[in-house]
Amino acid sequence: MPTTSAPTRYSGIAQVFHWIIAALIVTQFTLAWMADDLPLGARKLGLLARHKSFGMTILMLAVLRLLWRMFNPAPPLPAGMAKIEKILAKISHTAFYVLLFAMPLTGWLMSSAKNYSVSWFGLFTWPNLIGKNQDNFDLLRATHEYLSDALFALAIVHILAALKHHFWNKDDVLVRMLPFKKPEKRR
């Protein structure tokens, strides 16, 4: 039995991290898809410039979020969950953290290999991580795209799992990440 002081919900800070990063990831997919459809040109350059700025924002938030998470563990999963479910949840959440770093880092490396330095909203420029090399760029670009497919699939699983917890299991797994919502008497 958890003690009365054990958290049952994600804290406000954890929720802010979760929802801001979620919104940024949706933005990133949208910008990337829009850019993919365009030929080389100023418009594509502009979309990708925003994509890079948001990507570096996600990387900075991911660092802060990971640090914060290390000192503020997530509330425990519902007791009724099977052990395999808890393991799968742990794996998927860890995979999210890995991708939160891997996506922007492969993007940053990709830009470096292309010799297109990454600016952060025109305010400052991030240093190139590696030298210009077209082969490395092609490899990193492919990696960035495969990882984005993985992230997309993981996000779908994540959303479906949250809905399944809410409507099927009727536990508090979804609600405890929702702001402005009082915890209900759920398992």
Partner: protein, 202 residues
């Protein structure tokens, strides 16, 4: 009449005194600026550099021109007759990315098919506190406009080194048509730098 005579007499006396005191030094001091002629150099194509830095999507990028010729007539004491004359092969531009190079060569940017060369020639050179500055006319993308440059000159043995910078606005020369006219993703100002290794003309 008397004050005039006095002045003439005084002037004659001073001239005489000068001739008497230092006839050898006096003559070259007056003749030197007339006699000094600039040394004629060519920039060594292997070691000389011509580069530019633009701003793309908020981040700087560098480009180089691999092929250009620079004829320099220069002597610090003969600035009036000194000049720089640079011919740039626009096809040799290299921004270290093939996609960007394709765009830069293309009709919306340098349009090298129609404007294969650029030309810069100085009109006047003046001494500054830290080196020299010059105003010259740059013909780029078919447009001719004055562009000032700042440079340092250092004689090295029989040759010399001439390093300098310039700032120009690409849109003054129509470099950037269509979507590239916007300065939202490619800034208007471009920094140019050059480092010429000069060898005397033979």
């Amino acid at each position: 009449m008397r004050p005039c005579s006095m002045i003439l007499f005084a002037a004659a006396a001073v001239s005489a005194a000068n001739l008497w005191a230092a006839p050898v030094q006096a003559a070259p001091m007056q003749a030197a600026p007339m006699q000094a002629a600039p040394v004629a150099y060519n920039a060594d194509p292997q070691t000389s550099k011509l580069e530019f830095v633009g701003v793309q999507a908020g981040a700087e990028f560098k480009g180089v021109f691999h092929k250009f010729t620079a004829a320099v007539d220069f002597a610090p004491d003969a600035l009036a007759a000194s000049r720089l004359d640079v011919q740039i092969d626009m096809n040799s531009v290299d921004s270290m990315d093939k996609d960007r190079d394709t765009t830069i060569h293309g009709s919306d940017v340098f349009d090298v098919a129609h404007f294969p060369t650029a030309h810069y020639v100085t009109k006047s050179i003046t001494k500054t506190a830290s080196g020299y500055s010059a105003v010259g006319s740059l013909t780029l993308h078919g447009v001719t406009k004055d562009v000032p440059i700042d440079f340092q000159f250092a004689a090295l043995g029989s040759g010399a080194k001439l390093d300098g910078t310039a700032k120009l606005k690409r849109l003054d020369f129509g470099v950037g048509q269509g979507d590239w006219k916007s300065t939202e993703w490619v800034a208007d100002p471009v920094k140019v730098s050059f480092s010429l290794v000069l060898k005397p003309k033979t």
